[in-house]
């Protein structure tokens, strides 16, 4: 079970969190004209990297904040965690 350092609460076990997928996906702006392809990429296409991955976790049984977690998908090593609005190094 992963041990995730919530930037708001501190180290907490994985079972307090819900996984939220790729954190690098950016929603197209509202009211912006975009192609079908761009929209499909946003809704459906995700990379599934082996190795470093920036991902979203939601501290559902804690502070209810969405956080970003830089994790290695093959070793589960967590390098760093960020608040939702923090700049990614």
């Amino acid at each position: 079970m992963l041990y995730i350092n919530c930037p708001h609460c501190g180290l907490r076990s994985q079972n307090e969190f819900a996984y939220g997928g790729d954190a690098t996906v950016k929603r197209p702006e509202l009211n912006k004209e975009i192609s079908d392809q761009e929209w499909d990429n946003f809704v459906y296409l995700r990379k599934s990297p082996r190795g470093k991955h920036l991902e979203l976790w939601h501290h559902v049984s804690g502070c209810r904040q969405w956080i970003k977690v830089e994790r290695d998908t093959s070793t589960h090593e967590i390098f760093k965690t960020y608040k939702a609005n923090e700049a990614i190094e």
Binding site: L2, Y3, S13, W66, H76, A84, N85
Partner: protein
């Protein structure tokens, strides 16, 4: 039966307490502190089971977790435990165990015929023998395999025992209480670290219980007792026996199974049977010791052949002789220790040593005790079927290839020692890539992967002096990283006998003309010839060889078999072992009961039960409840002999004719607050929200980004910057996460906060033509006229002294109101409504009537918003704004979503007006069409229309909007029904929606 093999005054069992137990129906006696294995051996019983494939007789091979054979089925308080190691299970008064994997009995086993059919059971027999013809599979092969294979039968009854889970945190977890575990725990505890010391056996001490050593002028046993007593007295230390750390998981999470009541006749009050510990440790010291390696020779699986360390432990710990004419077969000094122990107990052993001329303290001692030793000697084959009766032994050439002077000597047990294999399972599970240590012919942990270090013989250190010193150092080092107390205790002096090098020999060649089975994996019946065959057939990777032959699988996880298997593959392939590598060790290290894994999360404990504040009223008034997510909701209120159908019909009818009240507390409620709340709702919902006035409610639909409807509900503007959102019961948690996602990550510039208020409000829906009259009596000072409180209006008022919120919204399609009060006042509100409503013929109604009412009105719910429908499909397209953007809007332009003949919501009525249409039925044009019959859509919800007194259903069918008036068929292959139907509008009752506005 008398305990013929019990020694007098030797061992640690409690001779004062005699215990009786039954094995295969026969009564035996042992002493408190015995395991099933030691008690049976004391009674001269060695035949305990049959092997997995060939059904050969099986006895005891080890003395603890190393035991591959002696797996029994235990009956305790009418419970059945199918996977008990006889070497670990302690006996208690009334214990009943029986053999598994044999039929009809352990002495006469029909499966043993497999032994004579062994040409059918070569390596990979699963993949070969039972393949053809396919028709044989269900009737012949599978039943045969099921009866022949497997270890015992799991109980199909509900397990009434209690199991618990515990989460624990510590600085240092130490997995084993042998010399290294004790020393490191002591050093770390004295340095202020929070320590957990786990021992899988009932007794602490590990090898110190059986070795002839001296630590700090005390025997191993005395030193153990002293250290344990001191550790137990320290507040920063937790010491646990009967506790196996079986898994090493990510981020230094280890799981330990504690057997609390397994050794007792009955689980004690307030105690669980077993407890599973999830331990998050800052540091781990793996001190799980080592397991003696077998030597491989003919018929080495015969009962009576066992590890020499096991024989020694049976004598020293249990006071039991495994035989009275022992043969010791060894390639190192460990066998001598066992021989000396036999001699001390006035039994004369013969030692066969594969080495030609070794010399050490122990060998000298054995010689001085006049023990017969044959150097350069091996056991060629054990003789005897159900028990060793004699052995063919031979002199072996220096190159270990030739056998000379084969002779048969009498013996009743063969104690083997092929040196020691460190238990690296936990280190390997942690991710530690092990390395091969040539000196000990075994793998040891390499660089730490997580925060783990391995100490003592688990790390390949086999002298006590070195072990103790290293463990004291490690205990200090890892604790000091955390406590920085620099409190170092002194290392005691150690006296032990010096031993000399072992012989790398491990497998006795077959004599000419003999084809004895020589077993590598005793649990899975894998012999040398199986591995040879696998390699001949082209398997090379050790992982493939493992799966093809089953070497090192199952509950044993290769504890005794792994290295000899690797040796063999290396020898055949002309490689060295590290080139072959080893297979992955997986948790659990030893079997864990399913009960322990599940813990308390069974039955009603598997998830929380949520109840509304009015729950007890519903109970008192004969409500029959239904699970709605984790909520319990009244499904109907039973009167007299009514069933679901009659009751729900009565309740729904009363709503249409008079007035009904329904508990709607379970609806999700979310407070949306902030200056940008309107803008936020405008982006979340498909319809327009910017112009909703204060004091008004609006129905809204929200989508996922892929255009599929996520949820619907009404949201009310309470004040300028405050909205009260409702969601469906099922989607409440998802909607909150969804809103938080957009506010925190996508549009952080919006100044809005959301919080769940579901549990803060109790809700009652009052519906029916009499509802306004009722409301007037409930709120005499409030103007509830159609003008004062119009449809979709909102008012705050006082309900007999209790503040209440009144929303004029309707799910039933009738004139209706929803009253919310603070949860604490919910019961009061409900009683008042019932009391005041009496004169208007009020009746409570449950979810079944609620469904009926919404279905005949054509209102969609979860069965239509099923995660596959877009607004158009559910006839919600009128709520989709063309002007503004919102979540999921862009997806609605996808070509599939704009196609003109999309499936759409319709109503369905059976032509005979009597046959109910099963939910899930397909709508088809021609019921006799060739299969697969093209379906037009499916029936999503069915009810008995109380308005028209005939069945009515909702369906979502292709080109629905052009199908009204068509005569089609509803087919339910499941219920075997074909019903002629007519497609009608989904708005079956009050299509103009006059009632809600009346």
């Amino acid at each position: 039966m008398s305990q013929d093999f019990r020694l007098n005054n030797v061992g640690m069992v409690n001779r004062e307490k005699k215990i009786s137990f039954k094995f295969n129906g026969k009564k035996y006696f042992g002493f408190e502190g015995d395991t099933i294995a030691s008690a049976l051996i004391a009674n001269g019983v060695h035949l305990v089971g049959r092997s997995f494939k060939y059904h050969r007789p099986r006895g005891f091979f080890g003395v603890g977790v190393d035991e591959p054979y002696a797996i029994l089925q235990l009956d305790r308080n009418n419970e059945r435990d199918p996977n008990i190691r006889a070497t670990e299970q302690e006996i208690f008064e009334g214990l009943e165990v029986k053999s598994v994997n044999c039929w009809p009995s352990v002495n006469f086993d029909i499966g043993a015929i497999n032994n004579f059919l062994k040409m059918f059971f070569p390596a990979g027999f699963y993949y070969k023998t039972f393949m053809w013809p396919p028709s044989f599979w269900y009737k012949i092969y599978e039943p045969f395999i099921r009866m022949a294979a497997g270890f015992g039968q799991a109980s199909i009854k509900h397990d009434k025992e209690r199991y618990e889970h515990k989460y624990e945190y510590c600085d240092l977890l130490i997995t084993g209480s042998g010399p290294s575990g004790l020393a490191s725990a002591y050093a770390a505890a004295k340095n202020g670290a929070r320590v957990i010391l786990a021992e899988d056996k009932p007794r602490f001490g590990g090898s110190l219980l059986t070795s002839d050593v001296n630590i700090g002028n005390q025997t191993g046993v005395e030193w153990t007792e002293k250290i344990i007593a001191e550790l137990k007295s320290m507040p920063n230390v937790t010491v646990k026996n009967r506790s196996q750390v079986f898994g090493y998981y990510d981020h230094n999470m280890l799981v330990m199974s504690e057997r609390i009541s397994d050794h007792l006749p009955k689980t004690q009050k307030y105690l669980p049977k077993q407890r599973l510990w999830y331990i998050r440790a800052n540091e781990v010291l793996i001190s799980s010791g080592s397991i003696e390696r077998p030597l491989v020779f003919g018929n080495n699986d015969t009962p009576g052949v066992m590890l020499s360390s096991a024989a020694k432990e049976y004598m020293k710990v249990y006071g039991v002789l495994v035989g009275k004419k022992p043969l010791i077969f060894t390639n190192n000094d460990s066998g001598y220790e066992t021989a000396i122990e036999f001699k001390k107990n006035r039994v004369d052993p013969i030692i066969l040593d594969t080495r030609s001329n070794p010399s050490s303290d122990i060998i000298t001692e054995a010689k001085s005790l006049n023990i017969e030793i044959k150097f350069s000697y091996v056991v060629v084959a054990a003789k005897g079927y159900k028990k060793v009766k004699s052995a063919d032994i031979a002199k072996i050439s220096d190159d270990k290839k030739e056998l000379f002077n084969i002779e048969n000597i009498e013996c009743d047990c063969i104690c083997v020692s092929g040196f020691w294999t460190p238990s690296i399972h936990l280190a390997s599970q942690s991710g530690n890539k092990s390395k091969f240590n040539e000196k000990i012919d075994a793998f040891v942990p390499d660089k730490s992967k997580q925060q783990e270090n391995t100490i003592g013989s688990a790390n390949g250190i086999f002298t006590l002096e070195e072990t103790i010193k290293d463990a004291f150092d490690k205990g200090f080092d890892v604790s000091n990283k955390l406590t920085e107390k620099n409190n170092k205790v002194s290392v005691p002096t150690v006296v032990e006998k010096k031993s000399t090098d072992h012989d790398k020999f491990w497998c006795v060649p077959l004599p000419k003309g003999k084809s004895y089975k020589r077993f590598l994996d005793f649990q899975n019946d894998v012999a040398v010839s199986d591995i040879e065959l696998a390699l001949r057939e082209g398997f090379r990777s050790i992982e493939h060889v493992k799966r093809y032959t089953t070497l090192g699988m199952a509950t044993d996880q290769g504890k005794t078999s792994n290295l000899n298997g690797l040796q063999l593959v290396s020898d055949i392939e002309n490689k060295v072992v590290p080139q072959v590598g080893h297979t992955t060790f997986r948790p659990p290290y030893t079997p864990v009961s399913i009960g322990a894994i599940v813990g308390r999360e069974v039955g009603k404990h598997s998830k929380p039960t949520r109840k509304s504040p009015m729950h007890s009223w519903h109970e008192k008034n004969n409500a029959v409840f239904v699970d709605a997510g984790v909520w319990l909701r009244p499904r109907y209120y039973k009167q007299g002999n009514e069933g679901l159908f009659e009751a729900s019909k009565r309740e729904a009818k009363n709503v249409r004719q008079n007035v009904g009240v329904c508990d709607v507390t379970t609806l999700g409620k979310i407070d949306v607050k902030g200056p940008d709340a309107a803008e936020f709702l405008n982006r979340v919902y498909t319809n327009a929200w910017l112009k909703l006035p204060v004091g008004k409610a609006r129905y809204g639909v929200m989508l996922r980004e892929d255009g599929i409807v996520m949820d619907d509900g009404t949201t009310t503007r309470i004040s300028e910057n405050h909205y009260h959102m409702t969601t469906t019961t099922a989607q409440a948690a998802n909607v909150l996460s969804h809103l938080e996602y957009y506010l925190q990550l996508v549009w952080p510039e919006l100044n809005v906060n959301v919080v769940s208020t579901t549990e803060q409000w109790a809700g009652a829906a009052i519906a029916g033509p009499n509802s306004r009259k009722l409301l007037m009596k409930l709120f005499p000072n409030l103007d509830v006229s159609n003008e004062g409180l119009p449809f979709m209006g909102y008012k705050e008022a006082d309900l007999f002294g209790v503040p209440a919120k009144i929303y004029r919204i309707s799910f039933s399609g009738e004139l209706a109101y929803e009253i919310n009060v603070e949860s604490d006042n919910g019961y009061f509100m409900w009683e008042k409504i019932m009391e005041v409503g009496q004169e208007f013929q009020i009746q409570p109604y449950g979810t079944e009537a609620l469904s009926t009412l919404r279905i005949e009105m054509g209102h969609v719910a979860g069965s239509e918003l099923d995660g596959r429908t877009i607004p158009y499909d559910a006839s919600l397209e009128g709520l989709v704004s063309k002007k503004k953007d919102f979540i999921g809007k862009r997806s609605l332009n996808r070509s599939a979503f704009t196609s003109t003949d999309r499936e759409k919501l319709v109503g369905v009525v059976p032509l005979d007006k009597t046959t109910s249409i099963p939910e899930g039925s397909y709508i088809v044009k021609d019921p006799k069409a060739k299969l697969p019959n093209p379906k037009l859509g499916h029936v999503s919800a069915s009810c008995w229309s109380v308005e028209y007194d005939n069945p009515f259903s909702l369906a979502i069918i292709k080109d629905g909007k052009n199908m009204i008036g068509q005569k089609l068929f509803a087919m339910s292959p499941l219920k075997n029904k074909t019903i002629p139907v007519e497609i009608v509008s989904s708005h079956y009752v009050d299509p103009e929606g006059k009632r809600v506005r009346s």
